[in-house]
Symmetry: C2
Subunit: 165 residues, 2 copies
DNA sequence: CTATGGCTTTGAGCGCGCGCGAACGCAAAC
DNA sequence: GTTTGCGTTCGCGCGCGCTCAAAGCCATAG
């Protein structure tokens, strides 16, 4: 279990086409099973990223991380939750620049809630469009796979070589 | 219509959650409404890419393009179809390297059909996984949006600032 | 009690995938 | 004639993260 990242666990939980209930979302963010103060290696393992990337995020101002008496980073659950959020946003295509902006809004206090909401709404639309694009590409790919398989006639042979689709 | 790319047209055709029938796929690849020999600008417009990128693909060995007596590129429907295919694969995440390999297989003749099929199957799985990832991120984003909106209680307020999710 | 290996720290620099920009010339079209 | 659009080449730029180097602390092993 230690080597699984959150997304992998989530996908296993959900299955190929299961419903995405609120409960699933909750389970996703249920971090009770991880130790409270985490090392950089543990967090990296949890989020399926390298320590390098975590330090990179920190330099980029996305998180602040406390240190122990040896200067080693100590991640509390608060920070880990933020990193989970950030990772998810990155994975769904939000650029670093936008993440930095979002975090700056969070740090700026409650007045920025509307703007944060706007960012989330816009990002939601981007994800939706991306899903539609991919669904289309998936359909096209499956179509091509199907015609490849059943290629017997001249037309189908043409499809093969002619790179139709 | 000239400024629309294929994907945009396709998405408009499909709508937000319509079924992806074979007919839709056919309509997608119905290039009858484009002139037979196309210039680089026309193809770029059709595929929503720049002439630069088209020349780049050509240099990369993905297509061979004939020239007219002025040295200008002349794209026949065959080449355009290949470019449509390549663009779709790129958009759905296939790296240039794999596209180059695929094209080399196409050029190598019918013996490579099984390997091409393998590539397509693998790519199909990648797209599927990507869609599931995005679906999950979408659900998480929508969940966060919902909690942002209805933040009245103390727990919800904590969600706001604590970057939960 | 060293030592060997394994983790951490910082900083600077590199690399990849993908494509764009700039500079320049030539032919056609207004 | 000047503007437009295409041609080529060289090099750059971006986003993102990794590599490399030099050094410190800890634990287990001899």
């Amino acid at each position: 279990m230690a080597t699984d990242d959150l997304m992998t666990r989530a996908l296993e939980t959900v299955g190929d086409d299961g419903p995405l209930s609120v409960e699933v979302i909750h389970r996703l963010t249920d971090l009770a099973d991880v130790p409270e103060p985490m090392t950089i290696a543990e967090v990296a393992d949890l989020l399926d990223m390298t320590p390098h990337t975590l330090r990179y995020y920190e330099r980029a101002g996305l998180v602040e991380v406390a240190r122990d008496r040896y200067g080693h980073r100590v991640y509390d659950s608060e920070t880990v939750r933020r990193l989970v959020f950030l990772t998810r946003m990155r994975l769904s295509g939000m650029p670093m620049r936008d993440l930095q902006h979002y975090i700056s809004l969070v740090d700026a206090g409650q007045d920025t809630v509307p703007e944060r909401l706007d960012m989330l709404l816009e990002h939601r639309d981007i994800i939706r469009r991306r899903i539609r694009e991919l669904t289309l590409s998936l359909a096209a790919t499956e179509y091509k796979i199907a015609t490849y398989g059943g290629s017997t006639g001249p037309d189908d042979a043409a499809l093969d070589t002619a790179t139709e689709l």
